[in-house]
Each structure stands twice: as structure tokens, then as C-alpha cells.
């Protein structure tokens, strides 16, 4: 018998036992296999006959050698070691971990969508094109913009697309005096990390704008940084503190005044659906995270979709080809069109199409009224929870928030030694996913909490109780110790991150 691990033993935590789950490589036995191939009656030439010797692999690529039964058991057990929205609340700030309706899954599995080749001729893809055109129209309506590209596969990709739009715009609108091209993009200190990273990839330099005591962009500081070297400003509104940038109109105008463009990071769009629109605030470019606001599931890290919508002035720069309705006639059909001054493709094909279809179904299901109710409930939930926690955690910006709020464990830490990360780990023990911690960077020991609209009052209540219990328990030395030792009822205990980085084991073969 090979020393392979037993695929049929379910002793890995949590259903029974506290063992590791063996890797698929440990389950492998030479010669074992699950594969089967269809009968084709094609002549059975050998590899030697088909591939010149200098190209041919000598040994087959070592994959894994498992039975279908063991493969199924292995991955099924892995799912039992994984938290998810479908198991419970996931109040990760900035991530909008709402319930992902099953009807959107059903959409994504329709063979008439899923089995279409991306290079199929236009006559074969009329349904897809119409879907994309409809989605673009609805996104423009929601954001208050004129046109959009659906290609960017995630928020960060949308940001970079936006910055390339900024670049192309400025290329075509050089300083009247023939001066040098703009080099800087302004970003608030509360911004998400993708913003500055995208700025660099867009070929710009980051200039940080501080927040003021209100937790909003410091308008005076912003003005100080404005000159004709500024290509754009990137903002999210509500910002990452969950606060609405009340001076947004003034800020946008100020940036426009120096010839800069105003970019909207749509990660927080959920809060303002049907309430207000980035376009009306003065934004020129808006990306949306469909995997947040529009319920595309996060898939353990992706895929998402990050369409970018723009004003009419910027529309000619959008990536191409774009799906378009061919004329105003209802039967005119749909086709592709390359925008006049397109920055070019930003995706190998047409973006994360099936994710776009999911988002489209979600929007159809909600409609205008439903989306507004989403915003109402998301904001109400956040405020209710903020209220419940205000006596227990520090709330550096304790006023009506939007879809999320940022609490701080700084006081708790000072009093008890229990930090934000400990609160997070204790919350796992209580049956909830943790909030986002240590972000935004401007709040010490930040606990960024976004309940989303799909959690009920009862769930919020339980979550609040748990957070209060955690803080209360931290007051005793045993309680504080327990918090440091948390979590203890999860498939594994607290994980050694330092060791992972110091003794890097990135693959099974590197052990």
C-alpha cells in the first residue's frame, strides 16, 4: 500500500475530529485516476507521431492521482472548513458582503449564456450584446453618467482603466501654454490601497490629502494641493469611514477648475443607490464594484466586475470594442463599436461576462425601487449597529453614517490589551465573520463594520451582543487572555502569519 492519506476519512475539523485535511497530493496514489474521455474514433497517433521530439515532455506533468470519490470528499470537506455569506453574517467593512441571490447563480449557468464563444460572430451573440447594452444603460442611470465600459474585471482594474482615461484626456487637452503634462493624482489618506497602486500603474504620482476632524476630506488642504500638475482626484463617497463627503460639489468644482478630473471609486455605491448619483456630484469617471453593490458573489476572492462609467466628454476614450445598439429601431439589433479615441482593450475579451449577467439579474430583480430600499436598509442597519456599540467601542466619527462605520478598539486596547485583531478573532468564536480590521489606516485599531442590508435586525442584535460581550469580557485578565487565544472553536486556531512569510512554503513541493 502506498502511504497516501485516506480519502474517505472525514476526521478533519470541524464535523468530526480536529485533524488536518490532507492535500490532494497526499491523497494521490500512482496510477489512480478519475478521468474518462469521450469516444471520438479519431486515429490514435502516438505523442511521438504528433509532437517533434524537441518539444515533447519526457515525464508526464505530475498532477494528482485521485479517484473521483476522493476528489469529491476532499473538496467537500474543504468547504466545511470555510465560512461564507451563506453560513452567516460577514460584516467586512468596504466589502459589502450581502446575500447573493440564488437566482443570479441560475442566470450564470444558463447554457445560452455560458456556452457562447467570445469570438462568435455578431449574429450569434445578439442576446449577450443586448444584455450588456441594458446593463450599461442601467449602470449609467444609477451613477448618473453617459456611457460605460464593462471590460474591467474588478475594482482595481476599473481604477487603472479610469486613470488611463484621465491620461488620454489630458493628452488630448494639453495645457494651453504647452506646459508639461500633469503628473499627480490626489488621494485622501483614508483611501483603499488599490487607489494609490493604480495611480502608480497609471503613470502618476500620488499626493495624499488629509482628512479633517469630521472624517471628511480636508477641503482647505485639498485646495492647497491643487495646481495644474494635478491630473485627477480619486474619491469614494461615502468615504471609507462610511461618511458622506458633504463638500463633494465644492471639491469637484475645485479640481475641475485646475483642469483635473474627478474619479469615483464605487466600492461604496451601495449606500447611495437611488439616493444620489456620482454624476450629479460632479464626478467624471465612476467605477462600480458589481461584486459588492450588485451582489456578484465574491468567490473566495473573485471574480468580480468593475465597469467604468464616464461623462459624455470622456465616452470617446472608453476601451473598445463596446456593445452597442445598431440604430434606434427596435429590431435594429446589436453590434460592436470602437470608440473614436479609445484607450484600447483592458480585458482579453469582453470583461467578466457571466459576472455581468449575474449583476444584471440582480438589478432586474430589484428595479429602481428595490435598489433604493437596498440603500435605505444598508444605511439603517449600519446606524442601528453604530448606536448599539457606541458605549462600548470608540467611535472616532460618531454621527449618522452611511452603509458602514469605523469603530476603534484603541480604548479597549489601552484598558485591557485586547486589540482589534483580538476582537476580530473572538467574533469568529461567536459565530460571525470579523469586520475589516486596521483599515482605513487613519483610524487606530480600526474595526470597519458594514452589516449590509440583507442582515436582519435580529442578526444585528446578536452581532451587537457578541461585540459587547467581547468588550466586557476583556475587562478581566482571563477574558483578555481568552481574547488573545481566540479563536478556539474554529477548524484551526490562530494562524502563524510571521512564520508563513519567514519560511515561505508556497507549494506542496516546497515543503
Amino acid at each position: 500500500m502506498t502511504g497516501a492519506a485516506p480519502g474517505g476519512r472525514a476526521s478533519s475539523a470541524p464535523l468530526m475530529g480536529r485533524d488536518d485535511e490532507p492535500t490532494v497530493f497526499e491523497l494521490s496514489v500512482p496510477g489512480r485516476s478519475a478521468a474518462s474521455f469521450r469516444r471520438t474514433d479519431v486515429p490514435e497517433w502516438t505523442a511521438d507521431e504528433l509532437v517533434p521530439a524537441e518539444h515533447l515532455r519526457i515525464d508526464p506533468a505530475p498532477i494528482a492521482e485521485v479517484s473521483e470519490r476522493d476528489l469529491v470528499a476532499h473538496f467537500t470537506r474543504l468547504t466545511h472548513r470555510q465560512y461564507s455569506v451563506d453560513l452567516g453574517a460577514y460584516p467586512l467593512g468596504s466589502c459589502t458582503m450581502k446575500y447573493n441571490p440564488k437566482l443570479c447563480d441560475a442566470t450564470a449557468f444558463r447554457p445560452g449564456l455560458a456556452n457562447v464563444h467570445p469570438a462568435a460572430p455578431v449574429a450569434h451573440i445578439q442576446g449577450w450584446l443586448e444584455l450588456l447594452v441594458d446593463l450599461e444603460r442601467d449602470l449609467c442611470q444609477i451613477t448618473g453618467m453617459a456611457a460605460a465600459t464593462l471590460q474591467p474585471p474588478a475594482g482595481a482594474a476599473g481604477e487603472l482603466t479610469g486613470l488611463l482615461l484621465v491620461r488620454a484626456w489630458h493628452r488630448d487637452h494639453p495645457p494651453a501654454d504647452g506646459g508639461r503634462p500633469r503628473t499627480r493624482v490626489l488621494i485622501p489618506d483614508s483611501a483603499h490601497g488599490t487607489n494609490p497602486a493604480s495611480v502608480s500603474l497609471g503613470g502618476y504620482h500620488v499626493t495624499q490629502v488629509p482628512s479633517d476632524a469630521r472624517g471628511l476630506v480636508d477641503v482647505a488642504a485639498l485646495r492647497e494641493r491643487l495646481d495644474d500638475d494635478v491630473a485627477a482626484i480619486m474619491l469614494t463617497n461615502p468615504n471609507t469611514l462610511g461618511l458622506f463627503e458633504e463638500d463633494i460639489v465644492e471639491m469637484a468644482a475645485a479640481v475641475h477648475e485646475v483642469g483635473g478630473l474627478v474619479y469615483y471609486d464605487g466600492a461604496n455605491l451601495n449606500a447611495i443607490l437611488g439616493v444620489t448619483r456620482p454624476g450629479d456630484m460632479g464626478f467624471d469617471i465612476v467605477h462600480s464594484n458589481l461584486h459588492k453593490t450588485f451582489a456578484v458573489p465574491h468567490g473566495g476572492g473573485g471574480p468580480g466586475a468593475g465597469p467604468v462609467a464616464v461623462t459624455a466628454a470622456l465616452a470617446p476614450y472608453l476601451p473598445g470594442p463596446r456593445p452597442v445598439r445598431l440604430g434606434s429601431d427596435a429590431d435594429a439589433g446589436f453590434g460592436w463599436e470602437d470608440p473614436e479615441r479609445s484607450i484600447g482593450r483592458v480585458h482579453g475579451w469582453h470583461g467578466n461576462a457571466l459576472a455581468l449577467a449575474r449583476a444584471h439579474s440582480y438589478m432586474l430583480a430589484n428595479g429602481g425601487d428595490g435598489l433604493r430600499r437596498v440603500a435605505d436598509a444598508a444605511v439603517l442597519n449600519a446606524n442601528w449597529l453604530r448606536h448599539r456599540l457606541r458605549d462600548v467601542y470608540d467611535l472616532p466619527y460618531d454621527r449618522v453614517c452611511m452603509h458602514e462605520f469605523v469603530a476603534s478598539a484603541a480604548g479597549l486596547k489601552k484598558r485591557t490589551g485586547v486589540k482589534a485583531i483580538d476582537v476580530a478573532k473572538r467574533l469568529l468564536e461567536e459565530g460571525f465573520h470579523a469586520p475589516t480590521v486596521y483599515f482605513p489606516l487613519i483610524v487606530e485599531e480600526a474595526l470597519m463594520i458594514e452589516p449590509t442590508e440583507t442582515e436582519s435586525l435580529q442578526t444585528l442584535h446578536a452581532l451587537a451582543e457578541a461585540l459587547i460581550r467581547i468588550a466586557d469580557a476583556a475587562a478581566t485578565p482571563e477574558g483578555a487572555d481568552a481574547a488573545h487565544a481566540a479563536p478556539r472553536n474554529t477548524p484551526v486556531g490562530r494562524v502563524d502569519e510571521v512564520r508563513a512569510a519567514r519560511h515561505l512554503i508556497p507549494t506542496w513541493d516546497a515543503r
Partner: protein, 455 residues
């Protein structure tokens, strides 16, 4: 509508009251009145679940998916492979589908271990040492590879084979506007391989030495490239080599890692992902260990928990944008984890022997189809090199017309090739792919139909 908001009106009122507000509008007091939408969004009213699905079905019915009624011979970076039922049954379990990026490792061992296994599989396929936890698609992986190489070599010159997928080259060009990379396209020779300039840099032609050479294996026309030659050229000037490798071909071909390339990227769609109208697909990214600090995206590593039990966690996080910000190795945050899980399930299902068998079956069908097609009057090879799953033809009619007519015969005939592959008024150029799904009967019918259609 709002079927997904649980709150009853009574609860909303109660919640408002408990925080001292009397209307939902007060929640938005911070939004200046001038910015408030007076009459809501101008969108249709919400639909019930069956109405949404009816609408989707209506749209889907206006597409022609690959299948019984449209037998697919199109490839060009998107391949019609059989996907075993286990892929959907496992990768689409809701714990994988509805979880976030594994920030809390203690309750994310499922995704983390699946990614660790995925990373291992990608390194085993490519012969490299490290692979990340996925990028958006092949094109974006290629861009990231170039970013890594330019940063590592300090030279912005990027020589890209014309054998690299045209869309990928377009994407590279788009992003080069920001990064300032200097792209140069290198032509293919008559043998279908990249004809690298004899003296890459420092030569008499005034070009600077490139930072990186990028080629695709097999290339866009389906031909096998000479990776060793590219590596030799690059090494001579201290440049990196990035190979965009098709993962199916790696079942038969020498892994790029064996040639000492720096980065291997690829489009992972063929394993576990249907044609999907082009997305979500999967960017494969693997490199040599020395480049790990420049690795874009997430990386999962093995470690232990407080009790010494094996555990997995995202690691070397200081490369990433949320920590390193403008100096991050990349801006990628959300990636394609779920597609990576599907890839891992499909590949593990195939196994060592199955992967080889799959590649072999593609190669057999390709040879069988190619020989039969070349027997037709007026059909000629566009280039001559050895092929594996795809090949380029010169036809006596414009390719778009051929594709249109073949669709009436029940075939998606292939993907027309752009003018850069030999513009010519009287001939069409078509790229044809044959996967393991294609039976001899289908190929024979295809050949007969093409014969009819080009007459």
C-alpha cells in the same frame, strides 16, 4: 420590490426610532439637498424571480451557444473542452462561491487550502517554483509579468512576439500608456515561429536591449515556438523571458520552466471554465522563486496554527496594495479565486495520465482535421510549423463569410485572423481549433461542409 431586504416596515420604523430618527430620509441628511434624486432612479420596477429568469432566457435564446446545434471549432484563446460534472458540483459549492478573500484564515482554510493546491498544480504544470493565487485572465497575467520583468531588469523595452494573442497585445499596449513600457512587436517567420531579431539590442540597428521577451506557446497561429532560442537570445542581453503557455499543451510539451524562463503566464479557461462569452476566465501566473517579492496578487503559504496544526494563510502580504500602496507590486485585489478552484478540481480530476491523454486527444483531432482540410481544393496552410490544438488556414473566400455560411451548416467554423497575419484580398485566413470533444464524425462533417461552403 426589494425581495432581498429582510426588514418589515414595522422593523424599519422601530430601528429608526431607536436611533432617534423619524424617517429614512433623515439617514441621508448629510447628502446635500441639491444632490438628492428627486424622483428615484429611472429604472424599470423590480421583477419577480421567474420574471427575471424569463428575461434572461429570452436573451439567452438570442445567442447561439456552442453545442449540438453549433459544433465548435473556434479557439483563439477560448476552448470548448469537456468539463466533468465534479467541477460544478465542487467549485460552485456555496462556501467557495460566497466567501470573501480569506482575510480571517481560521475560518477560511477551505479556500486557502484549495488555492495552495491550485498554486502547486500551476507550478507542476509550468515547471516553475512559485505561482500566485490567480489573476484576472491571460491578458492581465501577461501585463503583470511584463511589469515584473521590467521592474526586475530596469529596462522598459518589451519585445512581444506577434504570436502572442492580438487581444493580449492590445491590452499590453493599453496599459503601457500608464507604465511607459516600450512595446515592440516581433514578426513570425514562414515556419510560424517568432523571428527574433538577430541582435537584440546593442546591435547596429540602434535599438536598446529589451527588458523582456514575450512569446506564446503554442502561439496564436497554433504553432510550437522555440522557447530555448528565445531564452538564449534574452540571456545574451540580460533580458527576462515571459512565456504565455496554454495549460492543455503542457500535458505534452516540455514545461517552460525547463528552459529557464522567468515567468510563465497563461489563460486557465480550458480547465474548468466554459466558454462564458470570454469571462470570468483565469490568469495563470508562475515565476521563479527569486522573483517572489515582485509577485503580483495574492500568495497562499503553508504555516501552522498556535497548536502546531498545519494551516494556510495569505503571505508575503507586504507586496500587496493594501499594505504597500503606491509601491505595491501590483494593484490587484479581487482576483479570480473561484475560477482557480474550478481549474484545480478539473485538473485533479484529470490527473497525471489524464492530462497527458487530454493533450494527446486534442493533438490527434487537430492532426486529423488539419490533414483532411488541407486535402480540400483551395485550402492551404497559412504557416508551416508543427501544431497541437489549433492551426491557421488560407481559404479561397473571406473568413467572415465562411464562418457565416458554416454557421448555417451547424458549425462555429473558427476565428478569422486579422490582417496582421498576411492581408490578402483574395484569400481568407481562419484559425481552427480541435479539442478532445470533437469526434471523427463531427470533423468529417465539418470538412464536408467547408468544402461545400468555399465552393
Amino acid at each position: 420590490m426589494g425581495h432581498f431586504v429582510p426588514h418589515t416596515d414595522a422593523e424599519m420604523a422601530e430601528m429608526l426610532a431607536s436611533i432617534g430618527l423619524s424617517s429614512l430620509d433623515q439617514l441621508f441628511a448629510a447628502v446635500p439637498a441639491a444632490l438628492r434624486l428627486a424622483s428615484g432612479l429611472d429604472l424599470a420596477d423590480g421583477l419577480s424571480e421567474p420574471d427575471v429568469l424569463d428575461r434572461i432566457d429570452h436573451l439567452a435564446a438570442r445567442n447561439r451557444p456552442a453545442g449540438r446545434d453549433l459544433v465548435c471549432f473556434a479557439g483563439a484563446g477560448a476552448y470548448d473542452h469537456d468539463i466533468p460534472s465534479v467541477v460544478n458540483a465542487l467549485a460552485f459549492r456555496s462556501e467557495f462561491v460566497t466567501s470573501y478573500t480569506p482575510y480571517q484564515a481560521e475560518v477560511a482554510q477551505g479556500v486557502l487550502q484549495a488555492l495552495f493546491e491550485y498554486q502547486t498544480l500551476v507550478t507542476r504544470l509550468t515547471g516553475m517554483e512559485v505561482a500566485n493565487a490567480s489573476l484576472y485572465d491571460g491578458a492581465s497575467a501577461c501585463v503583470e509579468a511584463v511589469n515584473l520583468s521590467v521592474a526586475a531588469t530596469g529596462r522598459p523595452g518589451v519585445w512581444v512576439s506577434r504570436g502572442v494573442h492580438p487581444h493580449w497585445r492590445e491590452v499590453m499596449a493599453t496599459f503601457a500608456a500608464g507604465s511607459g513600457h516600450e512595446l515592440r512587436t516581433v514578426d513570425l517567420g514562414a515556419d510560424g515561429r517568432t523571428a527574433w531579431p538577430a541582435t537584440p539590442g546593442g546591435g547596429g540597428d540602434g535599438t536598446e536591449a529589451p527588458g523582456v521577451l514575450v512569446l506564446q506557446q503554442p502561439n496564436y497561429l497554433g504553432c510550437l515556438e522555440d522557447v530555448a532560442a528565445a531564452v538564449a537570445e534574452a540571456r545574451a542581453v540580460g533580458a527576462h523571458v515571459v512565456v504565455a503557455a496554454d495549460p492543455v499543451s503542457l500535458g505534452l510539451l516540455k514545461p517552460p520552466g525547463d528552459f529557464g524562463v522567468d515567468v510563465v503566464v497563461g489563460e486557465g479557461q480550458p480547465f474548468g471554465t466554459p466558454l462564458s462569452f470570454g469571462g470570468p476566465y483565469l490568469g495563470l501566473f508562475a515565476c521563479r522563486r527569486e522573483h517572489v517579492r515582485r509577485l503580483p496578487g495574492r500568495l497562499v503559504g503553508e504555516t501552522v496554527d498556535v497548536e502546531g496544526r498545519r494551516a494556510y494563510v495569505t503571505t508575503l502580504r507586504t507586496r500587496e496594495q493594501d499594505i504597500r500602496r503606491e509601491r505595491a507590486s501590483s494593484n490587484v485585489c479581487t482576483n479570480q479565486t473561484l475560477i482557480a478552484v474550478a481549474f484545480a478540481v478539473h485538473l485533479a480530476w484529470l490527473g497525471t495520465a489524464g492530462l497527458r491523454e487530454l493533450a494527446l486527444r486534442c493533438a490527434r483531432g487537430t492532426r486529423y482535421a488539419r490533414e483532411a482540410l488541407l486535402d480540400l481544393d483551395g485550402v492551404e496552410p497559412l504557416v508551416d510549423g508543427p501544431v497541437l490544438r489549433e492551426f491557421a488556414l488560407r481559404l479561397p473566400a473571406p473568413a467572415a463569410v465562411v464562418v457565416e455560411r458554416m454557421a448555417e451548416e451547424g458549425f462555429l467554423a473558427g476565428v478569422p485572423l486579422g490582417d496582421e497575419y498576411g492581408a490578402d484580398d483574395t484569400h481568407g485566413r481562419l484559425l481552427v481549433a480541435v479539442t478532445e470533444r470533437r469526434t471523427r464524425a463531427q470533423i468529417d462533417a465539418y470538412v464536408a461542409a467547408l468544402d461545400k461552403v468555399i465552393r
